[in-house]
């Protein structure tokens, strides 16, 4: 395998990002921006989930909570300052809030493994949803309206707001992928993998498993929060049921599982595949079949390719190399 270092990889990602942006700008159809935004958002969510779930082997069922924390921190800021703050700033704030929630979750669930950890994260999600439902300031169960501007002016150029959000999410997806790949190949990534393989042996080899787990929960939570921060502006109306929706928790797990959890490519492939399938189904059949599609694909992949698409390809390659 040829080795591509991080700066080269970043340049490749940047080039692809610019191409995608240029194409979308040239095509200039609002629906394309809307649909692609969702797919990009899932790329970030799936990549974030994979840092904890794929690299460390800790299955997080509470992705929706981190996503919602990011979204609701934007709503809070919007109400508090009574004006629309720049979305990049909100993304940073959402990341910090969800990162802190992730760190807290890490501390609370340190001793839990396997299904117990998964249940604890699900419980965290329910607790946070209940808090938000009963918090009037951010709209409570009624939800909150965020009126987004029609256009935005950047460096003297007026662009469509949805294109702006699309661009930001594209940038965020690029950052998430570069981060995930860098982590994967670093000492940190090796440490994460030892936690996934055997925590006791990891400790015996000198890996500070507790510290690494906290880094993973914080990083993973922060990226999910960043994915959620622009969401109120995208959707225009945020309510707890949509922000804490099962859709986010299930998709964040299914996408890396289908793509393959051991490498950064997996969540990317899974998110593009599942995200596009869902967008297609939403337009042609009904948005209600989205979760059905995810469920069926997950079952199919667990049976056919337990290591995801990436795992399947790797196995084929290995078999092909060995005559």
């Amino acid at each position: 395998m040829t080795r591509v270092n991080t700066s080269k990889f970043s340049l490749i990602v940047l080039a692809v990002g610019v191409l995608v942006m240029a194409f979308a700008h040239w095509f200039n159809v609002d629906y394309l921006f809307f649909a692609s935004y969702t797919i990009l958002q899932f790329i970030v969510l799936a990549t974030a989930w994979n840092i904890l779930g794929g690299y460390c082997g800790y299955v997080n069922f509470g992705s929706a909570a981190f996503f919602a924390m990011g979204a609701y921190s934007s709503v809070f800021m919007h109400k508090f300052f009574e004006e629309a703050l720049p979305v990049p700033l909100l993304i940073v704030i959402g990341g910090i809030v969800s990162g802190i929630v992730g760190l807290g979750m890490g501390y609370l669930t340190l001793r839990l493994r396997g299904s117990f950890f998964a249940i604890a994260t699900l419980a965290l999600s329910v607790v946070l949803a209940t808090l938000v439902v009963n918090w009037d300031y951010v709209g409570g169960s009624r939800g909150a309206y965020i009126i987004r501007p029609e256009t935005i002016e950047i460096a003297g150029v007026t662009i469509n707001y949805i294109e702006y959000l699309f661009g930001l999410m594209l940038l965020l997806a690029m950052i998430a992928l570069i981060t995930a790949r860098t982590v994967e190949r670093s000492q940190l990534g090796f440490g994460f993998a030892t936690i996934r393989d055997d925590e006791m042996a990891a400790e015996a080899s000198g890996v500070p498993t507790l510290k690494l787990k906290l880094i993973a929960t914080t990083m993973s939570g922060a990226f999910m929060g960043m994915a959620g921060a622009p969401f109120p502006y995208y959707i225009g109306y945020l309510q707890p049921q949509s922000a804490f929706g099962l859709e986010y928790a299930v998709n964040s797990i299914a996408m890396p599982m289908i793509g393959g959890t051991t490498s950064w490519i997996g969540p990317l492939v899974g998110a593009i595949l599942l995200g596009s399938a869902q967008q297609y189904a939403t337009v042609t059949i009904s948005s209600a079949v989205n979760l059905l599609i995810v469920g069926l694909m997950l079952v199919a992949f667990v049976i056919i390719a337990p290591n995801g698409i990436v795992g399947l390809v790797q196995e084929r390659l290995r078999a092909w190399r060995k005559p």
Partner: protein, 244 residues
């Protein structure tokens, strides 16, 4: 000269079961100690308490005169205590070379500061694999190994952490006579380089030829400690092993 490892009166219970009951043990720097005892006598529990995998309920463990109580396992590894597991626990998603890279990255590097270059790391991994005769399999995964090779990998990973004290927990079970000789020779070589070794083993011929001193655990208590020839003649030890 102070002892390298000093275990003072440690006890460990699992529910109502007393796994360790006031065990004392002292190991001098450079020593080769054999630790024996029937199945379920608490040998592995003692190792787990020394290495921090389990925390003892009473008593204390001192290493190089420093108290180790309350320290996590990885902190004890950083200080120079390394162990192999009775049942090999390789990192199954990593190649053999990467398995050894972990202690190099996380322990040796943490101790000495600046990271060795990538080339140095690869070289050291290769050296360690060569030492246990697995150099030609460095890119394979642990699942491709036989049980014997797995034990060698387990030992190599413990050695990779460059310990002052190495605890080998039944690293010879199931091995053939010549393989046992290989591993014994390896442990002696390590000992000659200044690494203190505690060998836990059921194979008496191996223990007798290796150990300078022998300690015997029975039902969580240390019943004998001394020269190997004397210990195996001790009536209490004979009774524990052969029954009355």
């Amino acid at each position: 000269m102070t002892a390298l490892l000093h275990v003072d009166n440690i006890s460990k219970h699992f529910g109502g079961f007393v796994a360790l009951d006031g065990v004392d043990l002292s190991v001098e720097p450079g020593e080769r100690l054999g630790l024996i005892g029937p199945n379920g006598s608490g040998k592995s529990t003692l190792v787990n308490c020394i290495c921090g995998t389990l925390q003892n309920e009473s008593g204390s463990v001192r290493f190089e005169g420093q108290p180790m109580d309350g320290l996590a396992a990885h902190q004890r590894t950083h200080r120079g205590l390394s162990r192999s597991f009775q049942l090999p626990r390789p990192f199954h998603s990593m190649s053999l070379a990467d398995n050894l890279r972990i202690p190099l990255l996380y322990t040796v590097h943490a101790r000495k500061g600046p990271l060795r270059s990538a080339g140095d790391l690869d070289g050291r991994c290769h050296e360690l694999l060569e030492m246990v005769g697995l150099a030609n399999k460095s890119r394979q995964l642990p699942r491709d190994l036989t049980q014997v090779e797995m034990r060698k990998l387990e030992l190599a990973r413990a050695v990779a952490a460059e310990p002052k004290l190495l605890i080998a927990d039944e690293s010879m079970a199931g091995l053939s006579h010549s393989e046992i000789e290989d591993i014994l020779a390896l442990l002696v070589r390590l000992n000659e380089r200044g690494i203190t070794v505690i060998l836990i083993e059921h194979i008496m011929s191996a223990v007798m030829s290796f150990s300078q001193r022998l300690a015997v655990l029975v039902s969580g208590k240390k019943i004998a400690d001394g020269k190997p020839e004397d210990v195996v003649r001790n009536p209490e030890v004979v009774r524990a092993y052969l029954g009355q």
